[in-house]
């Protein structure tokens, strides 16, 4: 690594760290003092949970090019597992990791036979598995409460603290996992494994000729992706404290797919942005009642016809670009000239 790249990376690291610290300090103050209501905080928490699932799905669908439609099912394994273990008295982190591992294990068992299938068949089979998981949960009444659901799941709270502080605690807890998953995905992608993943998406035959084991690549991405869905499920259970099988039906999986498609298949920042924007939008559009449910599919269809790569495509938003001296110099000079500054170019 030469000196220049090293300083570039260092610059990126500090910019990102400072950005995250600033954003989360501001949010913490807003939530902790009650300026953001519990409802607003809950939306932000939900968005962060969706980021984790959608990232996993994007890794599979956007980066590896395999359409998967059953992530709600894996999320439900994580959610129910965490809830049941928590009720049995296990500590939160342990029960989350255990049930996310279970989701990953189920992903492995499902992936071995199904990942040999291509394109649309894989989508249908994973959809089928998602539904089977739901049916199984529905039928294991003693463990999961069946169709009535599971209530009184212990959440993350301190008895002596105020509601605001507890809300803040949940939000930060979820955010930590979100940031960790983003880091994990980024580091996977910039490794040599990441190159293999992208090459499988671009051309399976060519990458096989280059010595990449396609099946193995798809399999570990799928297992990782289902593990992330499991983690998100665990967070979901502790955040909502109530679960029922219909929360995780096929339409939920489609919701995650919409997030991935909107943000850009193959873009991490796109997925993060889309998760927040779409979740907040969904809440903000509540006054439109059922009409908001029509806007989504129309946008999805138009997106596929006119901009099939999604908002960002495979590009990433880079903080370093905005926070670099060069960028400011360039754009300020342009502004002074009176020309229209093209910020992103």
């Amino acid at each position: 690594m030469n000196k220049q790249t090293k300083s570039k990376l260092l610059h990126a690291f500090w910019v990102q760290t400072i950005f995250i610290v600033v954003v989360y300090s501001v949010l913490s103050v807003l939530i902790g003092t009650g300026i953001f209501s519990k409802y607003t905080a809950s939306i932000l928490t939900t968005s962060s949970i969706y980021v984790i699932v959608a990232l996993g799905l994007n890794l599979m669908t956007g980066m590896t090019g395999q359409l998967v439609l059953g992530h709600a099912g894996f999320m439900s394994i994580g959610a129910y597992g965490t809830a049941i273990l928590l009720k049995a008295g296990l500590p939160m982190l342990l029960s989350m990791l255990l049930s996310a591992s279970l989701a990953g294990l189920v992903g492995l068992l499902i992936g071995i036979p199904t990942l040999r299938l291509r394109g649309d068949y894989l989508a249908i089979v994973t959809l089928g598995f998602g539904e089977i998981i739901r049916v199984v949960i529905m039928n294991l009444e003693k463990l999961t409460g069946g169709a009535a659901g599971l209530m009184n799941i212990p959440g993350l709270s301190i008895k002596t603290a105020s509601t605001e502080i507890n809300t803040l605690l949940t939000f930060l807890w979820v955010s930590i996992f979100m940031i960790l998953s983003i880091l994990a995905v980024v580091h996977l992608l910039i490794s040599s494994h990441g190159r293999a993943i992208l090459s499988v998406r671009d051309d399976e035959i060519a990458s096989e000729a280059m010595g990449i084991n396609i099946f193995y690549t798809k399999l570990y991405v799928f297992v990782f992706s289902t593990f992330l869905a499991g983690i998100a499920g665990g967070l979901f259970a502790t955040h909502y404290r109530y679960l029922n099988p219909d929360m995780f039906n096929y339409l939920k999986s489609v919701d995650f797919l919409i997030i991935v498609v909107f943000g850009g298949m193959g873009s991490i920042t796109g997925t993060v942005a889309a998760s927040f924007v779409l979740t907040i939008l969904q809440e903000q559009l509540r006054f439109m009642k059922d009409y908001r449910l029509v806007i989504y599919p129309i946008l999805l269809i138009m997106m596929m016809i006119f901009r099939p790569q999604g908002m960002l495509g495979t590009k990433e938003l880079r903080l370093t670009r905005v926070f670099s001296r060069k960028w400011w110099r360039k754009n300020l000079a342009r502004l002074k000239k009176g020309g229209r500054g093209n910020a992103s170019a």
Binding site: G128, E131, N139, P308
Partner: protein, 307 residues
């Protein structure tokens, strides 16, 4: 034995409905290689179209026939419009995009009908066909009861007969008419068919229209057998019909018929002998097993992938 036969009959009726829907999946897939996720929703639209005709005109033989006609024509038109607007621009795009569009169309049809004031989100009960309307089938049912001592409800007979008739008509159209020949040619090789002077866009539109019309007819039959309709009623039968299409060998028309009946019978036996809660799970398990063991389906050829 009594239960067995009863479950078999239920399975056959439901299965023939699945078969009608599966035909739409399989025909569209055979020609444009697209899994039309929205196909199950034509079942819902057809059922609603029939609902309006039947509830406005009262239930009699004429209005029932009219209900079928209106539902099939409306859905055929809608099918063509959807194909032109949503699927045609994506014909050359990666299949992933077309599939996501299909999911979008499906959501649009479901949520769209939910917002329409005359459909609405609430489930409605379907007008029951009375014995007067089903006179012919009532006579047939009585005849069977006298001859074998076994009772088949007139509605079940209606479903079986209508489904069979539609399948025979489809078989005739596909195998013995010019349009059918063109459809087979396009599905075999689109470019070559185009060079032979077949207008591909028209043939694709006709395929979508026929598929949607069959779905609409299936919708009325489904609603008559399970007399409650809501905007999401098409999802599950649609998915099961898709499984039926894969089971029989997707793209193969007789395969869809066989697959539909098999799925219907399996589902009915699961409901009867195991538990109705497990039925959906078992049907999906069939799909997975068939894709593992014989991806081409029952009637499909085993193709090896060449690199």
């Amino acid at each position: 034995m009594e239960t067995f036969l009863k479950l078999l009959i239920i399975g056959l009726t439901v299965g023939s409905i699945y078969a009608l829907i599966a035909l739409g999946y399989t025909m569209v897939y055979g020609i444009v290689k697209l899994i039309n996720f929205a196909h199950g929703d034509f079942l819902m639209l057809g059922a609603y179209a029939g609902f309006f005709v039947l509830s406005h005109m009262g239930v009699n033989l004429g209005s029932t026939l009219l209900a079928f006609a209106v539902a099939m024509v409306l859905c055929a038109i809608l099918g063509v419009i959807i194909e032109k607007i949503c699927y045609k621009p994506l014909r050359k795009a990666p299949r992933l995009n077309a599939l996501i569009t299909a999911i979008g169309v499906s959501m649009l049809l479901e949520n769209g009908s939910k917002t329409l004031p005359f459909i609405g989100p609430n489930p409605r009960s379907y007008p029951q066909l009375n014995d007067q309307t089903l006179y012919l089938f009532k006579v047939l049912s009585d005849g069977i009861l006298k001859a074998t001592g076994f009772y088949i409800a007139p509605v079940q007979l209606l479903v079986l007969v209508v489904a069979l008739a539609l399948m025979l008509i489809l078989n005739y159209v596909v195998n013995y008419t010019r349009v059918g020949k063109a459809m087979r040619a396009v599905s075999f090789d689109m470019d070559a068919a185009s060079l032979m002077g077949i207008h591909i866009d028209t043939i694709i539109s006709i395929t979508f229209a026929i598929g949607a019309a069959l779905g609409a007819a299936a919708g009325i039959l489904y609603a008559v057998s399970f007399p409650q309709i809501n905007p999401y009623m098409g999802i599950m039968p649609g998915l099961k019909a898709f499984i039926a299409a894969v089971l029989g060998g997707i793209g193969i028309i007789p395969g869809a018929m066989i697959g539909g009946v098999v799925i219907g019978v399996v589902e009915s036996f699961t409901k009867g002998y195991i538990s109705s809660l497990w039925a959906d799970g078992i049907v999906f398990a069939i799909l997975i097993i068939i894709l593992m063991a014989r991806p081409g389906g029952i009637l499909g050829k085993v193709t090896r992938e060449k690199v």
